[in-house]
Amino acid sequence: MTTTTDTAVSTAQRLVLDRLYKTFESRNRESFAAVRGIDLDIEPGEMVALLGPSGCGKTTTLRMIAGLEAVTSGDIRIGETSVASLPAKRRNVGVGFESYALYPPLSVRENLAYGLKARRAKNVDQRVDSMAQRLGMTDLLDLRPAALSSGQKQRIALARALIRNPPVLLLDEPLSHLDASQRQHVRRELKVLQREFGYTTIVVTHDQLEALSLADRMAVMDAGVIRQFGSPDEIFDDPDNQFVADFVGEPKINLVGGTVRIDGDRTMVHIGRAGELVTASRIVQHDQQVTVGLRPQDCRTDVSPAAPCLEGEIKVYENLLEFGQATVNVPGVDDAMVVQTPAGHRWTRADPIRFTAAPERVYLFDTETGERLR
């Protein structure tokens, strides 16, 4: 195991999670499987965003990689080494804690230096200064953590994780408490640093924009399993299942019931009382009940008179300047559907509206399993 002791660029390492399981045993409660078989293969120097609802096991996964939580089964490899049974300090993983983990009696400078001194690093002061400069916090160096806002603490926690140049970096919601402008600044700087030093990085985030801007690939997690792992384009444009389609995307995807109609070599899906859309799905049968996913952004309102489409009536129209957002009642569909409209036209309540989408953007999901029917 190599231990980086100075400023040298850390050599990027591949990070592999192999059927990773974590079950929490406790005496009074039933044992709880927080992580249920995670496979991830992260390239050296790659940045992966980990998304998922609260409680799905993101933090638990990071803690296992860092060595703060024993794995129940499965393996973790950094480079060629299996680290699953190594103690935390031998894994050389940097962690940005959700709770900041700043040491109250020490100043910010001492907090940053403390992490370096453990491995007897050289020119500690210089490294602290340069990191502080890059994250725009030179003015905070002499303060105690108690005197900082949560946004400032978060930046320092990030600096603390970065300063050792760890080959593997794990960040748990690193930007959640920053205000909008700081967030952009720190996000950019994080990306630059990550590219420069090539840390293999997993960043947990709730913010999809953040995931998009930072990550090379995204992993969407639910109830202890990875539901899809791929580039942001794949995740957004080609979701593997209903959960992923529903979880990513803002505004949320419309999910409505539908019935498949095969019409020659066209696959149509019948929605509500009279709506019909063409879909690119092929592995479906005539009359099959499906769940149809249609993103508001994918909707077009310039529909030629005879073309298959959905028809409805405007319930609410919101003008969002660059585009409009119409909430539409479609006859025979229980929930109102959301449609993004071009900025030019302003709709008013009760206006009739017709909309459709490109066939490859009309996703069909199995009503039972939620798996994508392609």
């Binding site: 993983v93 900041y100 603390r160």
Partner: protein, 288 residues
């Protein structure tokens, strides 16, 4: 005057006045015995039973207690019992801290099969009646030569101080965010370094509070010292009662003077570490 309750400004309402009066009444009740003891300590033998508040005060009793005359009356050297008390209580607290602080850390950080039972056993030393264990201890102490020695006293006072230290400090360690230590572990520090440099400094106020409390409990202990020591290693608590005389004359004023002297060391100690104490008793946690 505005009726709004501003921070730092008090509003006088019927309830708050009544609450203050009740508090005052309680204070008077609680402090009266101490006042009485101090007054008695300042009275001459002639006045001790015949006056209440009007008398001519004298410091003579303190001199008597600490001098050879006191020793003559009680056959115990009060000054040397004071030293025995200080030595054995400080010793007991130190031993309790040296062993109890790491024990409390371990108990606060790790759960293992039976960890609760171990903690409960430690606590049970505290609520088991002292008289129950003192008889077998008396026999054992005689056999291994610890009877009437300061070392023996330090040893037995652990039963009083150790549970306090472990239980108080365990909750302090539990309240420390574990992330702090984990961050240090990830940085490459050893468990021991992490404990010494991260966890320990943060619970200093707790250590001060626990140490003081343990000291006071040890200082006030009577039964162990009474049974397990003879004339060599008597403590002040035992020495005080000797002025009441065993069958002979009871010197109430001397007893009071001895009690006043005996109350001073814990008082001085409490005042010295007061600064820590307020923090130690009011904050369980150290917040980042």
């Amino acid at each position: 005057m505005s009726t709004e309750l501003l921070p730092g400004r008090r509003r006088f309402t019927l309830t708050s006045v009544l609450a203050d009066l009740a508090l005052l009444a309680w204070f008077t009740f609680a402090l009266f015995p101490i006042l009485w003891m101090v007054l008695l300590a300042l009275k001459t033998s002639a006045e001790q039973t015949s006056t209440y508040f009007a008398f001519s005060p004298t410091l003579e009793n303190f001199g008597t207690v600490l001098s050879a005359r006191g020793t003559e009356l009680t056959s115990v050297d009060f000054t040397s019992t004071l030293i025995t008390s200080v030595v054995s209580c400080v010793g007991a607290v130190l031993v309790s801290l040296i062993i109890g602080v790491p024990a409390a850390y371990a108990a606060g950080r790790w759960k293992y099969r039976g960890s609760n039972d171990v903690m409960f056993t430690i606590l049970s030393f505290r609520f088991a009646p002292e008289l129950m264990v003192v008889v077998p201890l008396f026999v054992i102490y005689h056999q291994i030569g610890l009877f009437d020695t300061r070392v023996g006293l330090i040893w037995v006072l652990q039963l009083v101080t150790m549970p306090l230290v472990v239980w108080i400090l365990r909750s302090y360690f539990q309240d420390l965010p574990e992330d702090l230590e984990q961050a240090a572990l990830l940085d490459g520090y050893t468990r021991r370094r992490t404990f010494l440099t991260v966890a320990l400094p943060l619970v200093r106020p707790g250590i001060a509070a626990a140490a003081l409390l343990a000291f006071i409990f040890a200082w006030n202990n009577y039964v162990f010292a009474l049974i397990l020591t003879g004339n060599e290693a008597n403590t002040v608590t035992v020495a005080i009662t000797k002025f009441l005389g065993g069958g002979g004359q009871a010197y109430y004023n001397l007893t009071a003077a001895a009690a006043v002297i005996a109350a001073l060391p814990p008082l001085i100690l409490a005042l010295t570490i007061q600064r820590y104490l307020v923090r130690g008793l009011s904050f369980g946690a150290v917040k980042a």
